[in-house]
C-alpha cells in the first residue's frame, strides 16, 4: 500500500524531527496565555466563547503545523524523491492529511487540560459525541489546509499566501466547528445541530475529493 508507506514516512519524519507537534503545542500554549490576558479572566465571557476560542487556536496551530510539514519537502527538493516514483499523487495529499490529523489530535490531547485549567472552565458533559465530532473536524481542518498548503507550497512567499488563501476558504468549517462544540457543551439535542454535521460532512467530501483530484496538477511543474 503506497498510502501506508507515505504515512509511515510522515510519521517517521515527525519522530525524527519532532518539529510539528512541538511547534503546535508551544504555539497553542502561548495562545491560551494570551487569551487569558485579553479576556480578563471573566468567567462568563470565557465560558460563552470557549469553543470558538478553541477552534481559533486550532486554526492558528494548524497553519503552523501544516506549513512546517510542507517546508521540509522543499529542503533539498526532497519531494522529488516521491514525485519521480510512479505513485498516484493524490495519495500524497491523503497521507499528509491523515498524518496531520494524527499530529493535531495528539496535540489536542496534550493541550486540552491546560486549556481548561488556565481558562478555569468547568466541564461536565457527555464526552463521546464531543470526541467524535472533534475528530471529524480535525480531519476536515487537515483536508482544507493541506489542499491550500499544497497550492502555496512552492510559491515565493508561501508562509504569507498560505494563511491569506486559507482563512476565507476555511471560515465555513470554523463556523460549523464552533457551533457543534458549543451545542454539545450546552447539551443541546442533536436535532438542533445536525445541520452542522451535514455541513461538516459536505466539507469533508468536497475538499477531500478535490484535494485528491487536484494534487496531481498542483505538484506537476
Amino acid at each position: 500500500m503506497d498510502l501506508l508507506k507515505l504515512i509511515n514516512k510522515e510519521l517517521r519524519a515527525e519522530i525524527l524531527n519532532k518539529e510539528i507537534i512541538i511547534t503546535m503545542l508551544a504555539f497553542g500554549l502561548s495562545i491560551i496565555v494570551i487569551i487569558s490576558f485579553t479576556s480578563n479572566l471573566s468567567k462568563q465571557i470565557i465560558e460563552a466563547y470557549a469553543p470558538g476560542l478553541f477552534w481559533l487556536m486550532m486554526l492558528f496551530v494548524t497553519v503552523l503545523g501544516v506549513h512546517r510539514s510542507y517546508a521540509y519537502e522543499k529542503e533539498f527538493n526532497a519531494i522529488d524523491l516521491i514525485l519521480t516514483t510512479p505513485i498516484d499523487r493524490g495519495l500524497i495529499f491523503i497521507a499528509k492529511s491523515l498524518s496531520g490529523f494524527i499530529f493535531i489530535t495528539l496535540m489536542q490531547i496534550l493541550i486540552i487540560f491546560p486549556y481548561f485549567i488556565f481558562l478555569s472552565i468547568d466541564i461536565n458533559i457527555d464526552f463521546f459525541p464531543l470526541i467524535l465530532s472533534t475528530l471529524l473536524i480535525n480531519l476536515a481542518l487537515m483536508f482544507v489546509s493541506n489542499l491550500i498548503s499544497g497550492i502555496s507550497m512552492r510559491a515565493r512567499i508561501s508562509e504569507i499566501l498560505f494563511p491569506v488563501i486559507l482563512f476565507p476558504l476555511i471560515s465555513p468549517l470554523i463556523i460549523a466547528a464552533t457551533n457543534i462544540t458549543n451545542s454539545i457543551i450546552n447539551q443541546a439535542p442533536y436535532i438542533e445541530w445536525q445541520v452542522w454535521i451535514y455541513l461538516l460532512i459536505s466539507i469533508l467530501i468536497v475538499f477531500g475529493l478535490s484535494g485528491y483530484a487536484l494534487f496531481d496538477f498542483i505538484l506537476e511543474e
Binding site: L147, I151, A155, R156, I160, P168, P172, F207
Partner: protein
C-alpha cells in the same frame, strides 16, 4: 488595435447607450416603493452586479478546469480576466449592499448570508491575486490560481449555508421572490440584468485582449 475591429467598436457603443438608458430608466422609469423610497433604486444595480460577479467567478472556475486539462494559454487569460472583472463587480456588491442597508436595516452590515458569501469569495480572490502577483514561477502560478478559482467556487454553497445556519434570524432577504414583484419593478430589473450581462461580455473581451498583448509585449522585449 482592439477598436479598429468594427465589431468591437459597435459593441462598445451599444454598451454605452444601453448603460445610459438603463440608468435613466432606473431613475425615472421605475415606481417608488413606499417604505423604501430612493434606497430601493440601488437594488437595480446591486442584484445585477452580484449576478455578473458570480457569473464571472463561475466562468473563472470553468476556465480553471479547462486550463488544467488542456494547458492552453487562452484559458488562463480567460480565467484571469474573469477573476478581475468578477472582483470588480463583487466590490460593487459590497459597496452597494451597505448603502442600501444603512437606511433600511439601520446599520450598514448585518451578516446577511448572500452578502457574507460575497465577502468571503471576495477575500478568497484577494488571495488569488496575491498568488498571481507574488507567487514566483509564472507557469506554476497559473496552475495554482486555476485551482484556487475552482475551489473558491465549489466553496460557495458551503459558505452560503454555513452563514445562513449561523444566524438564522437574518434570513430576511432584501429581495422577495422576483416573480412576485409587480411588472413595474420586474421589467426594469430584467432590463438592468441584461444590460449588466452585456457590459460584462464587452469588458471580458477587451480585458482578454489587453492581457494577451501585455504578455506578448513582455515576451518580445
Amino acid at each position: 488595435m482592439f477598436y479598429e475591429n468594427k465589431k468591437n467598436l459597435y459593441l462598445l457603443i451599444v454598451a454605452i447607450i444601453l448603460f445610459a438608458f438603463n440608468s435613466l430608466n432606473i431613475f425615472y422609469g421605475t415606481p417608488m416603493v413606499p417604505d423604501q423610497h430612493w434606497a430601493q433604486k440601488i437594488f437595480y444595480l446591486h442584484v445585477p452586479s452580484a449576478w455578473v460577479g458570480f457569473l464571472s467567478y463561475f466562468i473563472a472556475m470553468i476556465s480553471g478546469f479547462l486550463f488544467l486539462s488542456t494547458k492552453k494559454e487562452k484559458w488562463d487569460i480567460t480565467g484571469t480576466a474573469c477573476a478581475e472583472i468578477g472582483t470588480l463587480f463583487m466590490s460593487l456588491v459590497l459597496i452597494t449592499g451597505p448603502i442600501w442597508a444603512t437606511p433600511i436595516w439601520g446599520k450598514p452590515w448585518i451578516w446577511e448570508p448572500r452578502l457574507t458569501t460575497t465577502l468571503i469569495l471576495f477575500l478568497t480572490y484577494v488571495g488569488y491575486f496575491m498568488m498571481r502577483a507574488f507567487g514566483g514561477n509564472i507557469e506554476r502560478v497559473k496552475k495554482t490560481s486555476a485551482v484556487i478559482a475552482i475551489i473558491a467556487f465549489l466553496n460557495v454553497p458551503i459558505i452560503f449555508y454555513s452563514v445562513q445556519f449561523w444566524s438564522p434570524e437574518l434570513q430576511s432577504h432584501p429581495q422577495v421572490e422576483m416573480n412576485q414583484q409587480p411588472t413595474g419593478i420586474l421589467i426594469p430589473f430584467m432590463i438592468s440584468l441584461f444590460v449588466f450581462s452585456f457590459i460584462f461580455f464587452v469588458m471580458l473581451s477587451y480585458r482578454k485582449y489587453v492581457i494577451s498583448i501585455n504578455k506578448n509585449l513582455t515576451n518580445n522585449v
